[in-house]
Symmetry: D2
Subunit: 229 residues, 4 copies
């Protein structure tokens, strides 16, 4: 299912060894099967050098983990939006907590992504920054408290009132931006809680990529999302 | 006049040789005289190592040109909000076009400035980024199109409709933030035009610091601001 | 010819539109033909998302344009040495003039590249920085004066004495590092001049990638290199 | 004693609250007394906004903690070498572990410091990086393993063989550069050990600035240095 529908489960492959090359392809194929089975949209965000490999072999949306705010030209080693699009990416993360950008570059990266037909998930670290990002009109804004990232303690169950505040501030500034949340999401219940808090999905990484059985975790998450709708 | 009143003329000393040490003090003294004479608030933003010297000798608000978003600790070479406050600064520029910050750091720098009793002028490069900044609740937001900075072509006369759009977007997101504009401001008419466009003042640098007679330029600007009110 | 032999012609694809995806593959195939024809080693450095595509279809060394100095883990959007190696890269540029790194990160990136079996071409901007880089024991050090990059005015003909000085300083600090030069290289004579100045090859970009006939330019360069040996 | 003599004890004030403003001046005065008493050169490196205050009141060398590699001009919020020199600084730290620079900027910062008559202490994180820095001809190179900074476990007693290796590599590349070491230095014996390992002094911070009695610690260190010569 290539179309992006809501709610969405976005899986960031980070630079884990568990997601490099063929191993990443396996996780992407598992995501595709779960998505086909449940009808829930699952996005995968592999490493830059794996975008082409994975996008050519699965029929779910592949996102880059980062793009740079540049037009084509002399920018050795940077990530051109047009290049990831041609490799098969349908969108990109921007400003992940582990890859924060200068404000003016977030703005420009969103513009460049639109020009290259890439959807944008821009990450934020607190409710105010979430609102700030929504003023730049990305497609999605994913609120992720840095302290919970990678912990397995889910933002949606540990800090429900902060998620609610983030969603409210985002909606006030720009209701067209789709709110997501992330950090510590590792179970179906974490996903269900996120949806009940009025986000339209989750961004996660280790909870799936480092799981013993990524497919089983995704299946549980997608079914939980289904039931919560 | 130490109190910050509106409209405001903020003079950024940058790292011009013309504003180092005693030369910077002279410009600050000229600003003080003009401010006392006209009743218009003039802020000066000297280099970090001149804050103490200038703040101890003039009775107008002295701002830092930058602070770092850190709490006291192990941050060799960075600018601690408490340190510039103790040296005599009453506020600080943040995210100037020549010193752009990561979004999360702008947010944190504004919080840290408040804790150190520093007022904040956060700079933006276009109307959308201006709105984005206002979501973070600084005291002032100064819209400065980078292409006009240092040119002598004034943003307030060359791009009035963009200034108007910036002010509107800022007010919509957060009406408590005071809108300023800057870039190319070098005459009294540039200041008057800025005020007519509903900004509450200007941020400038070379137009005063590199002028043959900085005091004469400031006098003309302050008088022009007075008449426009 | 997959082995890296000297002299070498390294072609940096940058983020030019002319080198994205299939267009980049065409240039790489032209380089492979010239290399097979002349016996001169030609390295191609495509964009990150094209490494897999190109490495799977040509039998010459493919390099990344950049790697990050990280071990596997939580580094969203960064370039893991192991990932580009698994995609087929045999080496990487580091610290290109358009992508300069913190000194400690250059050191760590070289170590990480070795661990991932990637050869390293580290770029420098003047003779002293070239010597500084050689103390870190990369495989190659490419001296490229930033002012000439992309101009078509060749470093090897415009500044022969600076190239000579750079090579001498490099050899003095670490004779095991192979000296290259770059900037403005666009003809066979530029390559020949570089070799006569005791470099063991060139790093170039627009001279080939933006040429009307990249293969013809590479052919002329490789033949010129052959004759100069 | 304003002249820089060897061995040297350099005290980095970092951005500790214990060293802001008048408190920093007190530490600097203690350092001056100890230096006068023992004849050992003590350098103090206060925060940027305290350079003028401290340099005007003590007769020992005051260093900046950082300069930027810029010439005078439009660089809002950055540290101009000429400005810290005019405020009274005699030198500067560069590339401290907490403020690492791009390699080309270290090179340019050293050049700019020389033009502004500032001595340079450039910091390194391992023996190879120390050698790399020495190729750029700073006045001093201070090897500081990041893992020991701020721990109170002294580099000179915990890792003597690495200090020896660093000094050897530095001397091999450029014997004109004065080797220092730092990290965890907090007692006279730590200083003595550093000198016995053929460094010509130490760089430290919390060991003095956060001590209950900074003067007593400095006195013990200076006497220990004296006896070791």
């Amino acid at each position: 299912m290539m179309k992006i529908t809501l709610p969405v489960i976005a899986v960031n492959f980070k630079t884990y060894l568990e997601s490099v090359g063929e191993k990443g392809l396996e996780i992407a194929k598992a995501a595709e099967e779960v998505s086909n089975d449940t009808g829930i949209c699952i996005i995968v965000a592999p490493q830059q050098s794996d975008i082409g490999l994975i996008a050519s072999k699965v029929d779910i949306p592949v996102f880059a983990q980062h793009i740079d705010p540049f037009t084509p030209g002399s920018h050795t080693g940077y990530i051109l939006p047009e290049a990831v699009a041609e490799a098969g990416a349908k969108g990109t993360l921007i400003n992940h907590s582990e890859h924060r950008l200068i404000l003016a570059d977030i703005d420009e990266a969103i513009r460049r992504a639109k020009e290259a037909n890439l959807k944008t998930i821009v990450c934020s670290n607190n409710p105010e920054v979430s609102a700030s990002i929504c003023a730049l009109s990305p497609d999605f804004c994913a609120y992720e408290p840095p302290a919970l990232i990678g912990t397995g303690i889910s933002v949606s169950t540990a800090e429900p009132e902060v998620v609610t505040k983030a969603v409210e501030l985002m909606q006030k500034v720009n209701p067209a931006v789709v709110p997501l949340c992330g950090a510590g999401i590792s179970t179906g219940e974490d996903v269900a809680a996120a949806i009940r808090l009025k986000t339209r999905g989750v961004l996660l990484a280790s909870g799936v990529v480092k799981a013993k059985d990524p497919k089983a975790v995704l299946q549980e998450m997608a079914e939980s999302a289904q039931k919560t709708l």
